[in-house]
């Protein structure tokens, strides 16, 4: 497992991680944190304290929308899905991060490290 990256870049990329995940399917808070941790091999890790303010912030911006629904176990959970605004915002966000990592790769060869 990769060592957890605790940097501003990781925090800045958290938005992208949430939006990209929600672009695939609606998910609720705990599920979001679990899947991000799994998919990134633990490099990105959300605690309750870091996840929910970010979700509410994205919701306030109108990028995601939450609604209560029963999960597979029949328990009510607040599912978040990407709004049309969020979908539009995700495109340049992905491009910017891609550009950033390509630039970093050219500079430091991070993909071959």
């Amino acid at each position: 497992m990769h060592k957890r990256i605790r940097s501003k870049i990781a925090r800045g990329s958290a938005e992208l991680a949430i939006l990209a995940l929600l672009a695939e399917q609606p998910l609720y808070g705990f599920d979001i944190s679990k899947r991000i941790e799994e998919k990134t091999g633990g490099a990105l890790h959300f605690t309750l304290a870091s996840l929910y303010p970010m979700l509410y912030d994205l919701e306030k911006r109108g990028w995601i929308a939450g609604r209560w629904e029963a999960n597979h176990a029949g328990r009510d959970r607040r599912y978040y899905c990407l709004t049309s605004t969020g979908k539009k915002e995700l495109v340049p966000l992905r491009r910017e991060w891609n550009f950033f990592f390509q630039a970093l790769d050219r500079l430091a060869g991070v993909t071959n490290a």
């Binding site: 605690t47 304290a49 912030d57 306030k60 607040r78």
Partner: protein, 220 residues
């Protein structure tokens, strides 16, 4: 199994959100704790052990709950939080200052009318200004209270005109753009008394009714 909702509610404390929003936040965080607990049980941990691990997590987050509550409020009401100082101090203060300065200008204009020439500026300008100033102080403190400010900020908003005058006067004296006639202490005291102390007292008189213990309005 613990009452996760009660636990989350207790740790978060009162939120400055509508009751519906608060309940929703508490329910969502409680659901997160419940899922965390269920995950431990799903890994084969005994229920009592899972409960202990979850509660340990909650205790570990002890210092984060306060920040979490603040961050949630900030995220849900971003614009209001960003504008809080403007609403509490700058806008009410500017209203108070503008009103005080406009009144002073009107009184000076009136005192310069030919039929009033030769009468004392104290009588024509200062005294009427002091009589009207409580309205300005009251307006500043009232608007500040309406914006949800605490008592100290309401007082500052009410006294804003004399705070500005005092700051401006200090700069002018320190840069020697204004020099008091001799004896300096006498004319300096007179300027401070007539230009700062008396107007401050008048502004305070107007602000007093709005400095009571009424709780600031919650940002809803």
């Amino acid at each position: 199994m613990p009452d996760w909702r009660a636990l989350a509610s207790e740790r978060l404390g009162p939120l400055k959100l509508t009751s519906e929003e608060s309940q929703e936040v508490v329910a969502e965080l409680a659901a997160h704790l419940e899922d965390f607990y269920e995950e431990q049980v799903g890994r084969g941990v005994s229920e009592s052990e899972a409960e202990r691990i979850t509660l340990d997590e909650v205790v570990q987050w002890h210092n984060q709950w306060h920040n979490l509550a603040r961050n949630i409020q900030r995220a849900k009401h971003k614009e209001e939080t960003m504008n809080a100082r403007t609403k509490h101090l700058w806008l009410p203060g500017l209203v108070s200052l503008t009103a005080a300065m406009v009144l002073l200008m009107i009184l000076i204009q009136i005192s310069q009318q030919p039929r009033l020439l030769g009468r004392s500026p104290l009588e024509l300008v200062l005294l009427p200004w002091l009589v009207l100033l409580p309205l300005c102080g009251g307006a500043g403190a009232y608007l500040s209270r309406r914006g949800g400010a605490d008592r100290r900020v309401r007082l500052l908003a009410g006294l804003f005109p004399t705070i500005v005058l005092f700051s401006l006067g200090t700069i002018l004296v320190l840069t020697r753009l204004v020099v008091f006639a001799r004896p300096h202490w006498w004319y300096g005291s007179l300027a401070v008394g007539l230009g700062i102390v008396l107007p401050s007292a008048a502004l305070l008189l107007g602000a007093l009714p709005f400095l009571g213990t009424t709780k600031p309005k919650a940002v809803a």
